[in-house]
């Protein structure tokens, strides 16, 4: 089979889409959040055990009782902090996942085999994703800032803030 330049470019886009998708899935499968939850749960269980053991022989060792009380109070605070850290980390992972998913969708569109038939009116075959189309996929302001910075390097002043709705509401998208 002869590989034309267009076929080669589509292949590159398809490969890049698959590679970015793999990065997205690694981000999504990161174990940090789970480890923070398990640590918080373990600390809570240990704290309950300390309370239970203290109750079995109250007053036997006042100094140890005092230390147990301090440890239980510290555990509650640390567990709350771990839960908060996990919550923020989960959101950061979600932002990264959605940003990567946006790149995957754009590359998949560029790699579409029936690209020539998909060209919008007024655009040549192969021009399947305009900067505006790309901007419609964005999920956060960071992406728009990067877009605008790159556009300025090309001497283009068109802002990425477009009002095209439903750019991402596509069947079957997302992991």
């Amino acid at each position: 089979m002869q590989v034309t330049a267009d076929t080669g470019e589509r292949l590159v886009c398809a490969v890049l889409a698959a590679q970015v998708a793999a990065i997205r899935d690694r981000v999504d499968g990161d174990a940090t959040v789970d480890l923070l939850w398990r640590t918080a749960d373990l600390l809570t269980r240990l704290s309950r055990l300390v309370v239970e053991l203290s109750r079995r022989d109250p007053g036997a060792d006042p100094q140890l009782d005092e230390q147990c009380t301090a440890a239980v109070m510290a555990e509650a605070e640390i567990s709350r902090s771990l839960d908060a850290m996990a919550f923020v980390q989960a959101q950061r992972q979600d932002v990264a996942r959605q940003m990567a998913d946006c790149v995957v969708m754009a590359l998949e569109r560029l790699a579409a085999v029936d690209a020539a038939q998909d060209a919008p009116p007024g655009q040549p075959p192969g021009a399947r994703l305009s900067p505006g189309d790309l901007a419609a996929l964005y999920v956060c302001e960071d992406q728009r800032a990067v877009h605008d910075a790159v556009a300025r390097q090309f001497g283009i002043g068109v802002p990425s803030q477009v009002s095209q709705p439903a750019g991402r509401n596509l069947e079957g998208t997302g992991p």
Binding site: D28, V33, W37, D83, A84, A86, F87, V88, A90, Q91, R92, Q93, D94, V95, R97, Q98, M99, V139, C140, E141, R144, Q161, S163, P165, A166, R168, N169, L170, E171, G172, T173, G174
Partner: protein
């Protein structure tokens, strides 16, 4: 007590939100997108508040809010968006659709719980 309905296509986010809300004493129901959320509502679920992502497959957050506002059981239910987006035009779009509030990711648990309490004065 009626549950808080969480809509997010990220399983990690759903688990994380559920954990924070359950630890704060709320009951929780979950859905993976707007379509699943509406299925729960039409199936009889009457949440006290709805917490939804914006970008989801099958039915996104804005489309979900419009559907929910057409449903008699959720017409006046507070709906809080928790999303990666912070763009003013997206916020306005959500407000026009019927969103009650908006938080941008990442947010702190304390900010989420404070906002929920404002939406639920009896809690």
């Amino acid at each position: 007590m009626p549950a808080i309905l969480i809509l997010d296509d990220s399983a990690t986010m759903v688990m994380s939100l559920s954990r924070i809300l359950k630890n704060a004493g709320y009951d929780v129901e979950t859905a993976a997108n707007g379509r699943d959320g509406m299925a729960k509502i039409t199936g009889g679920l009457k949440p006290c508040v709805i917490l939804t992502d914006l970008n989801m497959p099958h039915m996104d957050g804005i489309a979900f809010i419009k559907e929910a506002r057409r449903n008699p059981s959720t017409r006046f239910t507070p709906i809080l968006m928790l999303t990666t987006e912070s763009a003013a035009n997206k916020r306005e779009e959500a407000r026009a659709a019927g969103a009650s509030g908006w938080l941008s990711k990442p947010t702190q648990p304390s900010d989420l719980l404070t906002t929920l309490k404002q939406l639920l004065p009896s809690k």
